[in-house]
């Protein structure tokens, strides 16, 4: 068996993304792509537990928001360097993953799903009642100047989030092709049977949940710098969780490519719709696209891509 070339491609992709803002200057492209990248990374993270392990997380915005608030608090209020704040955001979200995981990952999947929904309400409620986090008034973020060679904060944000996205994809690729991914897929199919085959189901679920939470928090940790003003309703918006879930499903769960495809396609459609259809119907178009994908490609677009490629190869 040949050695996989995917790592090479990922490295190439990474360098392209990081270098792009130095040569190509169009701020709108970076602002719009930032959100698409955000959704790709979140979907990839979601897929780790939801796709491979079959445990649906409806609290993506909780992990995202905890990462965002932790990082904002650290660099905005405590005035510590941003470079510390970003991983701290991921770590706090990972901690949330540990807490939710310990209480509900021993149960059937649907309870985990509801627990993540409840966790979203809980962390949002805590922020709303904590003046140090801005409560409902919100936090005004002091934006740092970008270091060279980036001329603009958004270019730096794009490049770093691009890096995080590629690293998430790489991690997801690694999980999928390692014994961890095998174990997760085994427990997704049949948890009891997997246990009797030696699969440490709880440990694997916890691992996937914490890693997934960490990545979501990491993505969230950049958000204060993008939005400049944080308030709990948009940060913990249920819409983020819905979007991530839908994107992963449309792309195809349980493969590392699925969330990338879903996030890229649906994320781009959303961005495009909001500037081409300048009325409330932009949401309807996105929803119609969702319906269409769900009905025409219930197994995800990745399946269609594979079929197409297989038939061309023959």
């Amino acid at each position: 068996m040949k050695r996989s070339r995917a790592p090479l491609y990922l490295v190439i992709l990474l360098s392209v993304g990081v270098a792009l803002p130095i040569f190509f200057k169009q701020p709108y492209f970076y602002f719009a792509s930032y959100i698409v990248l955000e959704y790709i990374a979140l979907s990839v993270a979601w897929n780790l537990l939801g796709g491979y392990g079959g445990y649906l997380n409806f609290g993506t915005s909780a992990f995202f928001g905890v990462g965002a608030y932790a990082s904002a608090y650290i660099f905005n209020s405590l005035r510590l360097p941003v470079i510390l704040a970003i991983p701290a955001g991921g770590a706090m979200a990972a901690l949330l993953g540990v807490l939710i995981g310990y209480s509900t990952l021993r149960l059937r999947g649907v309870y985990f799903a509801i627990a993540t929904l409840a966790a979203t309400t809980l962390v949002q409620s805590i922020v709303l009642n904590t003046p140090a986090l801005g409560s409902a008034v919100g936090l005004y973020i002091r934006l740092p100047p970008p270091p060279p060679p980036y001329g603009n904060l958004i270019e730096l944000l794009f490049a770093t989030l691009f890096g995080v996205t590629v690293v998430s994809i790489a991690l997801s690729y690694w999980v999928e092709n390692s014994w961890i991914g095998r174990g997760l897929m085994a427990l997704r199919d049949d948890e009891e049977a997997a246990e009797t085959m030696g699969v440490p189901t709880f440990r694997l679920k916890m691992f996937a949940n914490v890693l997934s939470g960490f990545l979501m928090g990491l993505v969230g940790a950049f958000y204060p710098l993008y939005i400049a003003y944080m308030e709990p309703y948009s940060t913990f918006d249920l819409g983020i969780s819905f979007n991530v879930f839908v994107m992963t499903l449309i792309g195809g769960t349980g493969t590392w490519q699925g969330p990338v495809i879903g996030g890229l396609i649906l994320g781009t459609i959303q961005q495009a719709a909001s500037v081409t259809i300048t009325s409330q119907y932009n949401l309807a178009v996105v929803a119609a696209a969702m319906l269409l994908f769900a009905v025409l490609a219930p197994g995800g677009l990745k399946g269609i891509f594979s079929k197409f490629i297989t038939s061309r190869a023959e």
């Binding site: 709108y28 492209f29 719009a32 005004y140 009325s279 409330q280 990745k302």
Partner: protein, 434 residues
């Protein structure tokens, strides 16, 4: 062979992903280069990012309607300095995370001349991008949105005042202070959103200034449906003044619950958004009688600025013409000052005759007073009104539960400030009617 096919697919898909990204980038660049053209030959473009859908559409849609009425009025009169007005509006779906990208699209792709947003949250998210572009931004009702960034080309046209959260509510306490016998104690009830909390912060300042005593300080989440317990709890503290900072659905819930548990303070009301919506007024009918709330404009004879009645008529015509989609047919809250903001901008552009030079235009705006459908306005360096003209109104003479019971003068009586006073406050609050 359990990984091989996956790899072929992944390779292909990565390639597709890269191509999509590059094509999108190239397309964006191409579009950028074709649309760009010297500003003098093109219409004046006003870029708007507003809530046409989502929870805040009830503010965004009336606001955008007023902006479009202004554009039509201006174009009918020949435009500004010979340029027609073109409105480019994007819906942010009440999703703040969409705002920076949309603002940037307006700036660097659509190449608009001016930016408009509505509401504090979305305006605050637009500010860094807007300030980097150096363009003038009108943040309709975006009070305090400049707090994080202090941008000199930000203008907020609602008549709130230089210290927004204090000025928004100080009138309520100022006139409470003038009543006799003077009420002593206050109960705060504030919704957990940016408006409610800013309102409560301003209220707390005012309480210190005018020497009241806070006996209850309650907050509640926007999802609250039943306010009976909350109102019973507030009632048990027996305050002279109820100071409620609330949003549309909950304003109604609070008024209903206060009546149900028979909570009768001497002064009932506060910074309540919601009663101003006609459909809600109609549903509550006489229950609103005696309640005091703020307004920026009401159809009272004492505050009849030139043009405002015409604007309201046009607005009602649009609202009614949209048939089933009718939004707030009387629309006194958002339209007048959305229109006024653009009217101010139009006057500045004409008088300054410095289109294209935003620094000069901003300096001009800071240095002058403008006469609009919202009255005379001038701005602090922070972009807020230099003085406060928040009106406090009391619902009086409500005949029943219908839209007509609230239309026209005499139902929303201005009781403060004295300059615009159109009637006397019924004090103490006579108790719940209907």
């Amino acid at each position: 062979m359990y990984f091989s096919r996956g790899r072929a697919v992944s390779t292909a898909i990565l390639a597709v992903a890269v191509i999509v990204i590059l094509v999108a980038a190239g397309g964006g660049y191409y579009y950028y280069s074709t649309v760009y053209a010297p500003a003098t030959t093109t219409p004046i473009k006003i870029g708007v990012v507003i809530q046409e859908s989502g929870f805040l559409a009830l503010a965004g849609v009336p606001g955008l309607t007023a902006i479009k009425i202004w554009a039509n009025d201006t174009n009918a009169a020949g435009g500004l300095l010979g340029h027609k007005i073109q409105i480019i509006a994007y819906d942010d779906a009440s999703d703040t995370s969409k705002v920076p990208a949309l603002i940037q699209k307006l700036i660097s792709v659509d190449n608009v001349d001016f930016l408009v947003t509505l509401g504090t949250v979305d305006t605050a998210a637009a500010m860094p991008v807007a300030s980097q572009s150096g363009k003038i931004i009108l943040g309709l009702f975006g009070t305090n949105a400049n707090a994080g960034i202090n941008y000199s080309k930000f203008f907020q046209a609602a008549p709130i005042g230089p210290d927004p959260n204090y000025d928004q509510v100080k009138g309520y306490f100022e006139f409470a202070n003038s009543l006799s016998p003077k009420p002593q104690t206050v109960a705060f009830v504030a919704v957990q959103n940016d408006f409610g909390q800013q309102c409560a912060i301003g209220g707390a300042k005012a309480v210190k200034v005018f020497g009241f005593r806070i006996v209850a300080n309650e907050t509640y989440p926007p999802t609250q449906t039943d306010f009976s317990s909350l109102m019973t709890k507030v009632k048990s503290t027996n305050p002279d003044i109820a100071f409620v900072c609330s949003y549309p659905p909950d304003s109604i819930g609070i008024v209903q619950a206060a009546k149900e548990v028979n909570f009768v303070p001497k002064l009932m009301g506060g910074g309540m958004i919601g009663p101003q919506f006609t459909a809600l007024e109609a549903a509550l009918g006489k229950t609103l009688q005696g309640v005091v709330t703020f307004a920026y404009w009401v159809p009272e004879p004492t505050i009849n600025f030139p043009g405002v009645n015409t604007l309201i008529q046009k607005y009602e015509a649009v609202a009614n013409a949209s048939g089933a989609a009718a939004f707030d047919p009387l629309g006194y809250l958002y339209p007048p000052y959305s229109y006024a903001a653009l009217q101010m901008l139009g006057q500045a552009v004409t008088a300054c005759n410095c289109l294209g030079n935003n620094d000069q235009l901003a300096t001009y705006i800071h240095g002058h007073t403008f006469s609009t459908v919202g009255g005379d306005m001038n701005f602090t360096s922070f972009g807020e009104w230099t003085y406060s003209r928040v009106l406090w109104i009391q619902y009086q003479n409500i005949a029943g539960a219908s839209v007509n019971a609230f239309a026209g003068p005499g139902h929303q009586v201005i009781v403060w400030p004295a300059t615009y006073k159109s009637g006397n406050l019924a004090y103490p609050f006579p108790g719940w009617q209907g």
